[in-house]
Structures are given as C-alpha cells and as structure tokens.
Subunit: 140 residues, 3 copies
C-alpha cells in the first residue's frame, strides 16, 4: 500500500519547556503524519533539578497552562491547533464543566472553522491536579 | 513521504440531527482518511431554539440514541460502522456493563467480521447521562 | 489522495492466547498502517470452555499480564512496542500510580529512544481488575 512504501520513523517530542517524563514515555510522538500528545497537566515550565509543580490551585490557571503544554508539543512536531483532530479532557469534578467550557471557548475563539472533536469525562487525577488533556493530530 | 504529498484539509462534520456544539469543538472531524467522532450521548435530534435533552432516563434508550448519533457523524464523513477502528464507551455505573453488552451485541449483530476494538470504563458524566461513546474511524 | 488510492481492509486481530471477546468487538483491529488495540486487562491465557480470569489480585502481576496481552495483539498485526504511539492506562486507585510507574519503567527499560506517549487516569473497572491498557500503533 502507498502508506507502506517508505519506512516511517517514530520521533519523541520533548519541548524545552517540559521536564523529563517521570517514567519511560514521551510527552508526544510523531510518525508519518500522525502526532499523538500524551496527557498534559498544568505544570509550569521545567526548572532544572526541581520536580514539576502545578502553576496554581485554580481551574483557570491550570487549564491555560495545560493548553500551552499541549501546544508546545504540537509545535515541536511541526503542527498547530488547526491540525488537532481530538482533544480528550479529563476533569475531576462535574461542577467544573461550565467554567472549563468558558475558558476553552475564550482560548479557541480565534481557531478556524474546523476545530477538534472533544470528549470530556470526570476521573481521578493525582492530588492538586484538576484537569488533564491529551490530543491526536493529523498533519499534512 | 507519500502521506505528505498532497495537502490534507480538516473538515468539521455536523449532521443535521445535531445541535450546535455548546463549545468551540466539532461533533466530528475528518482529515485524509482519519475520521474522529467526538463523545456522543443520548440526546435526541436537534430542535431549533431548545437545549439538547436525553431521549429518556434508561440505559437502553440512551445507548441506542448514542449509537445513532455516532453513526450520523460517520455517515456525514462518508464512513460507516465497518470503518470504525475504536469505540470508547464511558459508563457511569459498573452494574450497567451486562445490560450494555446485551444492547451492544444486538445492535451490531449484523456487522461484518471485523468490528471495532472497544474500551469501556466507568467515569462521571453530567447528571442524567448514563453513557458516552466516541469513535475513531479509518476510511479507505 | 494518495491514502485513498488503494482499498484498505480492516482486519480483526485475535491472538491464540485470547478468549473470544464477550461482546461483538475485537481485541484489536488493523487497517492500512493504523493498528488499534482494545482495552486489555490482566486475564491469563485463554482456556477452552472457561471464563477469563485475572492472573492474580496484585497490581504487579496484573500489569505484567496486561502488557503481555497488548503485545500479543501488536505482534498479531505485525507490530511491536516500538510502533506504539499511545498507551492509555486506566488505574482504579491513585495510590497505585507510583508502583505502576516502577513496573512500567522496568518493563520498558529496553525500549528504543522513542517510546509511546501515555495517559493515566483513575476510573472504575469490573471488580477484581486493577488496571486496563489500550494502545494505538502506527506501522511502517
């Protein structure tokens, strides 16, 4: 098949703003025209020798930082929000949904006419984290 | 690479049965031969000027409507259940699993020999919703 | 488009170690260069006429068996861990995260420099199951 006619290479994506992953996985990977962003949370930019910490306790600041962290990985792979096919949003409290949607709509107000699909569910996250987002992008 | 030889366009998929999304995302998107369906729930067909509401309180009716909503988006993108690679099912109660599987098996009884992979987990959803399903399809 | 120039076939992946799925879905499917592994748990190898059962009650044994089950499906489709783009890990208890990461790091110690992205969330699973993992792979 045409997709198999050339050997594709999988590349790990590690923006300079990100700490080394705490386990043997990547913040993102790219292979062919598929780019997968791992679950991102509201950790601030990496500081050498320090464990990553959330930018603050509130949903708004964590969400905006999470968006920035997802975007950094998309960019590292030569992609942008316009290439995002799916965002999976994990919230920890159903009562956060309305506020999350407000922040989300503000953030993406300038996006083109074909924004990503999105799924939002309520799960558990490590203490102090209110939101996690992962993303699938198709380049080209 | 061959996948990059032509510029791909991302297209939002909005079946006429669906209300405008409550936030800046799409019910589904298609780019190249990848089609992603956003998380669907048991909302009935869109009625102008009314907020979407579940078709009923029971798992069976919500599940069948959710399947219909996923299928409408697949069709809008020129795909069918046969193209679905992965269904992610979110239930809100582990005690619903057996009944869900019955409904699922009935619904897909006529599907060809290569139905989709599936993951089912138990999460939180907004009040009144018992099931959410999203889907990844590969056309071709 | 080049991706559409040949008809792609979706193939169900059923390793001999796996029981028949309890519902109308596949343990994995492959179409073109996309391979999707359904949610796997710590069930031991299939025994004719017996319902699948977890290999044991502990996180370590269930996690290692789950990895083996995911890998069996990747192999059935001609892929390996090196082709995995995304692992989604579902744990049932936030207190399992540290131990899970230890097991994960040991298991993947020999993996190349571009391991998969990963998302870990805490959800509900059927009684007795502590971990579930699904995977998306891109071959080529």
């Amino acid at each position: 098949m045409s997709e198999h006619s050339e050997k594709l290479t999988k590349t790990a994506l590690t923006p300079s703003t990100h700490t080394t992953p705490p386990a043997k996985f990547s913040h993102g990977v790219k292979k062919g025209n598929i780019l997968q962003v791992a679950g991102q949370v509201g950790f601030g930019p990496a500081v050498e020798g320090q464990a990553p910490t959330p930018v603050g306790p509130e949903l708004r600041e964590q969400t905006l930082q999470t968006f920035a962290n997802v975007e950094a990985i998309l960019k590292e792979g030569g992609a942008s929000w316009e290439d995002a096919m799916m965002l999976r949003v994990y919230l920890t409290d159903t009562s956060h949904f309305a506020e999350f949607n407000e922040i989300y709509n503000e953030y993406f107000a300038g996006l083109g006419e074909a924004p990503a699909a999105r799924t939002t569910v309520y799960v558990g996250l490590p203490a102090g984290l209110l939101v996690e987002i992962d993303a699938l992008a198709v380049l080209g």
